[in-house]
Each structure stands twice: as C-alpha cells, then as structure tokens.
Symmetry: C2
Subunit: 320 residues, 2 copies
C-alpha cells in the first residue's frame, strides 16, 4: 500500500522513533518504487549515519547465517539493538536452504530490538546496492546500533555490497579446498576480519594457516592489520571474541579518521546505480522509437554492423 494519507515527514518521524510497523511498510514501499517512500527516505537520510554496518560474506555453506544469528545474540546481550539485511542468492532456481536459514534467525523475531529484512536480488528497482542501501538507511534511522548485511557470496554483486560496509567479515569453513590456491587473491583483499568457522572440523588448522600466510604481505587498511578469528557458530564458541574484534575495528576506523569515508561508500554506490539505471531507461526508450537508434538495432540484428562499431557511434550521439 502506498502512502496516501500520512505526510512523508510524519512517516519519517515514526521511523526515527523506532516504530517497527512504519519501518516495515516503508521498506516494502521503497521496494515497490513508491515516490512518496523515496521522499521519506530523503528525510531520513540526514538523520542516519550512526549505525555500525558490518558486511558478512563468504561461500555457500560456510555458516554465515548461523554466525549472524550468534552475532545478533552477542550484541543484544550487551544491550545493543540490531538490524539485519539478508540478501538472497541470485539463483532463479531453488531457494530452499536460504528459507531454512531465515527461519533459524527468526528466533529473534519476537525481540522488538531486532529487525530482520530479507532482500531478493530480482525485481528490485535500481539494483542491489540501491536496495541494500535503502534498507540500511531505514534501519540506521530507526536507531539500530549494529546493522549486519549478509550476502550469499555468490556473484560479484553480493561481494560488492558486503564490501561497502564499515567492517567486512569474510566467513570461510574447512572442507572447501583448504589451501591457499582455493583462497583467491580477491578474497584476501576484501575482508577486515577473516572467520574460520566450523573450527572444530578437520582442515580448520590448514585453512587458518593458509589464510595467515596469504595475509602476511598485505598492507594494513586504515591502519588495521587484517585478523583471523576461529569460531564454532553452532555452539557459539569464539563468537564473543569475534564480537569484540568487530568493535575493535570500529574504534580503529574512528581513530584513523576513516569512519566517515567508509560511511560514504554505500551512498556513492547507490547514486551510481541510480544514474546508470536512468541512462539504461533512456537507452531502452530511444531504441523503441523510430529513428537512428532503432535503425542501429536493425542493422545489428541484420549483421550489417557489429556491436562495437554501433556502440561507438551511439556513445558519440549520446555524449557528443
């Protein structure tokens, strides 16, 4: 349902006061592309920027959702409030496992200080970064101290989104090819904290050693030396230490003056997605109408020109 009665400022006031139903409805309306919801978000934007946004990424099966569930509990135990954005895998096929994980996390559903939002990666208007950014902004404006962004770790998009957080957790577990070859170079660059989850399993030592070896030469980022933490999310072992390490990273960012800059990565990514989305719509519109663009497409499909040549001419038209 779109907003027809309440003014954007009134809705914004409710969300800022922590009203759960107002926040949930705002998120739905943002997903539906409701312009009034956009105006609410604009009003909230200036008031947000206080939450600690933590990205949680890693390959399927590494235990991310169980770990997120434990991190929620650890934060609540210290009196903090938590928001979670769980990004579903992009497979259009089946989503069984994810549903199960989501249900597990729901044990926090009765807790008014915990707000969990699942986002599909299909059908979101304006792309994944934009959807996640919108949701994080609402959770932040609600006053959540900690916002966890869990992405499936399949697809560059998921990793990019987790990497836009203040603190990036990379969750790995033994038995997925535990040597350094399996840990691709890119993985060693995105994380602030590396979690060896399922640390009681065979291969955990090898995995930890490979990680430490791979991280050895890495330059500190914002004055932070990347660390490896062992956890057993199922039993909760190691989660307190992980929770402490996350806080330590926050303090390090603040003392290094890097907090503000990291806070800016998400809005910048959302801005770029919106601009690219607008350009794409313009392109699609141009190609449908009679004229040089439609002719270009006809020449392409009739193999009278090739994509590279056509694109060069099109860009010249568009940008002069």
């Amino acid at each position: 349902m779109a907003y027809s009665m309440a003014s954007p400022l009134k809705i914004a006031g409710l969300v800022l006061a922590g009203d759960i139903r107002a926040a949930a409805r705002l998120m739905r309306n943002l997903d539906d592309g409701d312009p009034a919801a956009r105006r609410v978000l604009q009003a909230l934007y200036a008031k947000s920027g206080h939450a600690h946004v933590v990205g949680v990424t890693g390959p399927p099966g590494s235990g991310k959702s169980t770990l997120v569930d434990r991190l929620i509990a650890a934060c609540r135990a210290k009196g903090g409030s938590v928001g979670v954005v769980a990004v579903d895998p992009t497979s259009p096929f089946s989503g069984g496992a994810v549903l199960g994980d989501r249900i597990r996390m729901q044990r926090h559903a009765g807790d008014p200080e915990v707000f969990i939002r699942s986002l599909g990666t299909r059908g979101s208007l304006g792309g994944l970064s934009r959807s996640v950014f919108d949701t994080v902004t609402v959770l932040d404006a609600m006053g959540k101290d900690l916002v966890l962004v869990e992405t499936a770790g399949v697809g560059q998009d998921g990793v990019k989104v987790a990497g836009a957080a203040h603190t990036v957790l990379v969750v790995l577990s033994p038995g997925m090819g535990d040597d350094i070859q399996a840990i691709k170079a890119g993985v060693l660059e995105i994380g602030d904290i590396y979690v060896v989850n399922k640390a009681d399993k065979d291969g955990a030592d090898t995995l930890e050693r490979s990680l430490r070896l791979g991280l050895e030469g890495a330059a500190p980022r914002d004055g932070w030396e990347r660390v490896v933490v062992r956890t057993e999310a199922r039993s909760g072992k190691g989660v307190d230490e992980l929770s402490e390490t996350i806080l330590r990273h926050r303090r390090r960012l603040e003392s290094a003056g890097a907090w503000e800059r990291r806070s800016g990565v998400f809005p910048k990514a959302a801005f770029l997605e919106l601009v690219e989305d607008g350009l794409r719509r313009r392109l699609e519109g141009l190609m449908r109408r009679p004229g040089p663009w439609k002719k270009r497409v006809n020449d392409l499909t009739g193999r009278r020109t090739d994509p590279g040549t056509a694109a060069k001419a099109a860009l010249k038209d568009l940008l002069g």
Copy 2:
C-alpha cells in the same frame, strides 16, 4: 600477445578457414581488450550467423557439464562440428567443481572439430554478454555447426546469457526440492526444452510431473510447445532423443521465421553492454575531476544530499 605483424583481414581469413591457433589467440586478445582483435571481430561478424547456438542452464549439480559432454559426442557422431563456451560461476571464492567438469570435457580436446573455451565472469572487459557474444561469433565464423553455451545457472547474468541462444535448455535433476514450488515461475519461462537429468534417481517422476504441470498453461513460443526430455547423462541414455529435439526446435524456428530474430538477441545485448560500459567510464571520469560531479559525491558522503536527489540532478546534467 597483441597482433603487431598480421593484418586484421589476414587473421580473419585464418579464422574463417578454421585455423584453431588463430582462433584461440583471437579469443585471448579480445579478452585482453586488444583494439586490433576488435577489428578482426568486425570483419568476422558479417560472415557469421550460421551456427545453431544452444544455451544450457540450470542449478549447480544438475549435471550440465556431463550433458554438454554427451551432446558434443552426439553431434560429432553425425559429422557435425562443435564449439563450447563454458561460463564459470561468478563466485570469487572457490572453483573446484568447475575445474573438474572442464577436465571431463577435455576428452574432446584432441578432436580438431571440437573447440572448448572457458570464460570467467570476472575481469572481462565490457561484461559477460559481450565476452560470450565475442566467443560465439568466433566459433560461428570458424564454421562450427553447433555452439553450446553452458552457464552455471547462478546469478541472473548466467541465465540471461543462456537465454540469448536460439534454443534454451534448462537442466534440472531430482533431489533439489522436486515439487512445483521449487520450480520458480521464471524458470518455466526461459526454456524451450526442459531436461530431467539423472532420470534414474528417486524423485525424477515427481520432478517431471511438476514440470509438465507447470508448463501446461504456457503459451507456445515461436510456435513451439515447450517439451520435457528425460536423460541420464552419465550413461548417455536419452541423449540421442535430446539431440533430435534440439534439431526439431531449430527447424521449428526456421519455419516460423523466428531464427533471424533469435539470432539478433546476442548482438543487441552486446551492443547495450558496450554502451553502458562507455557511459560508466564517462561517469567515473567526471566524478574524479574537480567540478559539479565531484561536489555531488562530496555532498553525498557528507550526507548533505541523498542518492536519489543527487542522481536526478546528475541525469539532468548528462541528458539535458
């Protein structure tokens, strides 16, 4: 190595004559963004458009690679030549399974009438559709009768790429949640031929029934009623029938006058990716230089404006 000696037309001539080494080098140079390689592709483009491009998609573990291996053999047995584009999953984490599949397919590596090319989805200049399109064009120009495009089925990109083929195979197997709920609506729209692979396993009957039920109301596409075929790729059972069905679909497209239109989907997608890529580069350049764009980004990260407002202003600047 880029081309410094041979002229684009000479290289194009070699590829058109089926020269394997020239084709392999051209594909590498295209991936590296070599401008001379682009000119070769332009020359090849007008000469291509004869191969039957078949997309093979489906969830991980459904047996796509084994099936592709069998389809290669079936086509070779009838004297046809085959090209394969295998698109790796987009996970930046581990790629063990894919490597194994690739090795399996390599039993055809000694056959000069079979050309297999693996494409990563990272690092390709100008996006996945463009890379796949380039490779398909080269294989097509080499005179391959059949070009199989295998995508991991994870991520919308993979499905989109497979969907740009003349004939789209969706490969499913029992044991992945075998009822109609697990087969999302989108999956029932993309395929021309649905393969129930591992048909000897428990649950194959249920999966087939669910598929048939789901496809019942579907409107024919280009005069083709979507079909379900059972296979056991490991033993080869059902592969001949599948191979026949693929040919039957080709004849149907030709008689319905839809062959040309389907041939145009790939070049159009490649064109759009190139244009969007060019626009993105322009944006990134603008944001780095002092001026209104840099100010916009600073206002964003300082929360003096929000992404939606900034994007609206930016699009007005850019498109007038």
